[in-house]
């Protein structure tokens, strides 16, 4: 039932003529909203904004530079949360996301800094390498039928170790610095990944007084971080495929019951492997964007990001058992995560409470989703 929820609810709100079809049950708009997987995370986002509006409303958190600050955090996490979410809908996990981020950064930095490759080539190399590793992850999972939990856990260690090996072998340190300058000199990589965009718009907004200015006359925020655009792009594409295409329906079916899916002719293996590749692509995108942003690659980048991505997907309504979830929900989950992580620094709470708060949010989200699901599946 849950496997076909999104397409079904997608038909709500059509003309009365369409609803007159005897095969479609009438569902009230309120119930339809409640049944959407992302409802919990949207409600949670509202709650979080109310809370922080109350505790940190006057601290600069909702000024333009504050908004850019926490939305950047949310955007980074959002990119991998989308990947983790669609993979979870298909019933699999990828615990190597965090290590893949560090590894991607190193694969991009090492050829460019030590082997004399041009930046764009090492960027392509990083993407190709990561997607190949994603394929290997997926292949091992579908061939051996081992739980993806175990297979990707192995890769979590392997990739983290390889990242350290690469960095100490080439740079004699756990950090490869100086990538930033080389990156800005490469027009392709610079345009795609580094810094901010829409400078003209922000400059214009500052001249008409909509954006505050710094003492030196520059606008407080010079442009829109490119990572935000990437997040929107990845989420839009994944969301479209998931809810509007045949491949999207296959993902839900594979996650709901892979045997049944196989029996009705869904290429289960192909679906799963391609989703592992997509997740690896998302992790690589995260890594490349981060290297472009901070100007160095390090062996400890992306530590524990796999859990953050899974948490965001779960807050966003994805089920750990697969077959249920939405990209929009995962994006709101990432937004909650970003707002909580950074927002707590705007309040007067000790940041030691951050994990307590996060754990509470997670528990609340899961309870909420459980409740919604039991209503959605039993309440007629």
């Amino acid at each position: 039932m849950s496997a076909i929820t999104p397409p079904m609810t997608g038909s709500i709100g059509k003309t009365p003529a369409a609803q007159a079809d005897e095969r479609i049950r009438r569902i009230s708009p309120w119930r339809a909203l409640l049944n959407r997987p992302e409802f919990g995370s949207i409600a949670g986002t509202l709650l979080i904004f109310i809370l922080f509006g109350f505790f940190a409303g006057d601290s600069g958190m909702f000024n333009l530079d504050g908004v850019m600050n926490w939305s950047t955090v949310a955007a980074y996490l959002g990119i991998i949360a989308v990947g983790a979410c669609v993979l979870m809908i298909a019933g699999e996990f990828d615990l190597s996301i965090g290590s893949m981020i560090g590894f991607a950064g190193m694969m991009m930095a090492v050829p460019a800094m030590f082997l004399g490759w041009p930046m764009w080539a090492s960027m392509l190399f990083a993407f190709a390498g990561c997607m190949a590793l994603g394929w290997l992850n997926g292949y091992l999972v579908v061939r051996t039928r081992l739980p993806s939990f175990i297979v990707t856990l192995a890769f979590m260690f392997i990739l983290r170790g390889l990242t350290l090996v690469l960095s100490t072998h080439f740079s004699n340190s756990t950090i490869v610095s100086g990538v930033g300058d080389k990156l800005s000199a490469d027009p392709v990589v610079h345009t795609l990944f580094q810094g901010t965009t829409l400078h003209g718009l922000f400059g214009w907004l500052a001249t008409i007084g909509l954006i505050e200015k710094l003492p030196n006359g520059e606008p407080v925020v010079g442009g829109l971080p490119k990572v935000l655009l990437w997040w929107l792009g990845v989420a839009a594409v994944a969301g479209f495929i998931l809810s509007r295409t045949r491949f999207g329906n296959w993902i839900f079916m594979v996650g709901g019951d892979s045997n049944a899916a196989q029996n009705v002719g869904v290429p289960v293996r192909r679906v799963k492997i391609s989703l592992f590749v997509f997740t690896a692509f998302c992790a690589c995108l995260f890594g490349v964007l981060q290297v472009a942003d901070v100007g160095s690659a390090a062996a400890d980048r992306g530590l524990q990001k796999e859990f953050e991505a899974i948490i965001a997907a779960v807050i966003g309504g994805a089920l750990l058992t697969g077959g249920y979830g939405s990209v929009l929900g995962a994006c709101f989950g990432a937004l909650i995560f970003g707002v909580v992580q950074i927002g707590i620094s705007y309040t007067n709470f000790d940041s030691d409470w951050y994990r307590v708060f996060l754990g509470g949010m997670l528990l609340l989200a899961v309870l909420f989703n459980h409740y919604i699901r039991s209503r959605a599946t039993t309440g007629k």
């Binding site: 004699n172 980048r301 530590l303 524990q304 709470f349 509470g360």
Partner: protein, 348 residues
């Protein structure tokens, strides 16, 4: 019915959140609205920074301002960069942070200085990097100078040769410590250094092998607890403990014990308390007096009776230089080890 239960949950959570204790000390007095922040790169689990957390709390009390401590929970430097941007967006009155990596932090630090917020750097990083970031002061321990000061101490005791037990050879700071010591004693450090790694068994066997093949070695310099603790055991086993001149960097319970027994002639403390306290205090003075002159700031801090009282209580000794101040090296010897032991892990 179920819906009501959920709203009850939400209400409980909100009430709980409101009851969360606000940690910053509720300061009163004329500066109570001022808010400062110290941002470190250290993960939650790093105990070394506990001293700094305590020190900024006391600096906040002494100056009547509110001070926050922020760190990336997992120690991820990219997250630390976000925290720096956050401190700019929040318009803190002053920001202190450690230069964990210049490349990563230079851009976000620019955002803070662009807003005219006073910046002080501490702990890792060099004076030159600190200046490039637009900071007013850097409060740390220059490693070469610390090694040199230790070497001069050894030279005064008649040491003419030494072995440097380096457990962290890939670190530039380690090399500088050895080099400083070597330059002061008058020996080339490259011939006197052994790369041991951190495994205590390997450290011990390499040190004892070196001392057997070089029986005329005049002194041992360890670069931290990882190299000092196995070396203490080796010297005890070889019957050289207390006879061979032996110094180390940094403190640990075993090191303090060895200093008390006289097996270690000195341990070099970089005095993290001072790094925390003085960086916050300097930011407060810079903001309130609208000055960026390090000499004026340090003069005012030195004249502060509350600061002097803290120094006396914990037995701390800042090192004032022509253009700034340093938190170390301070030498822990048999004479002052009892104070250090009393406050170890909290204020020392």
């Amino acid at each position: 019915m179920r819906v009501r239960k959920i709203s009850l949950w939400l209400a409980t959570l909100m009430a709980g959140a409101m009851a969360l204790p606000a940690t910053s000390i509720a300061a009163d007095g004329p500066h109570a609205n001022e808010r400062y922040v110290l941002i470190s790169h250290a993960p939650d689990s790093d105990s070394w920074w506990n001293t700094i957390k305590n020190s900024i709390k006391q600096a906040g009390e002494d100056f009547g301002v509110q001070v926050d401590y922020r760190n990336p929970p997992n120690g991820d430097l990219a997250d630390m960069a976000r925290l720096l941007e956050q401190s700019a967006a929040r318009n803190y009155n002053g920001v202190a942070f450690d230069i964990a990596d210049y490349d990563v932090l230079s851009k976000p630090a620019m955002r803070i200085t662009a807003k005219g917020i006073p910046v002080v750097t501490l702990n890792s990083g060099t004076d030159a990097e600190s200046k490039k970031l637009g900071a007013i002061l850097h409060i740390g321990q220059p490693e070469y100078d610390a090694g040199k000061a230790a070497g001069e101490r050894a030279k005064a005791a008649g040491v003419k040769s030494f072995v440097c037990v380096n457990h962290y050879a890939t670190n530039v700071a380690s090399l500088q410590r050895c080099k400083g010591f070597g330059d002061a004693v008058g020996v080339d450090y490259r011939g006197s250094m052994i790369d041991t790694g951190v495994d205590p068994t390997v450290v011990a066997s390499k040190v004892s092998a070196y001392l057997r093949s070089h029986p005329d070695t005049g002194a041992v310099l360890a670069l931290g607890p990882n190299s000092a603790e196995p070396t203490i055991q080796v010297l005890e086993r070889m019957g050289k403990a207390g006879k061979l001149y032996f110094g180390t960097f940094d403190l640990s319970p075993a090191i303090i014990e060895a200093v008390k027994k006289g097996e270690l002639n000195f341990a070099i403390d970089q005095q993290p308390y001072l790094q925390g306290y003085m960086s916050v205090a300097a930011a407060v003075i810079a903001y309130e007096d609208k000055t960026k002159d390090p000499a004026a700031i340090i003069a005012k801090l030195k004249a502060n009776p509350k600061f002097q009282q803290r120094l006396k209580t914990y037995g701390l000794e800042p090192i004032y230089t022509a253009d700034g101040v340093r938190s170390g090296p301070a030498f822990v010897t048999k004479d002052n080890v009892s104070t250090v032991e009393k406050y170890a892990g909290q204020y020392r």
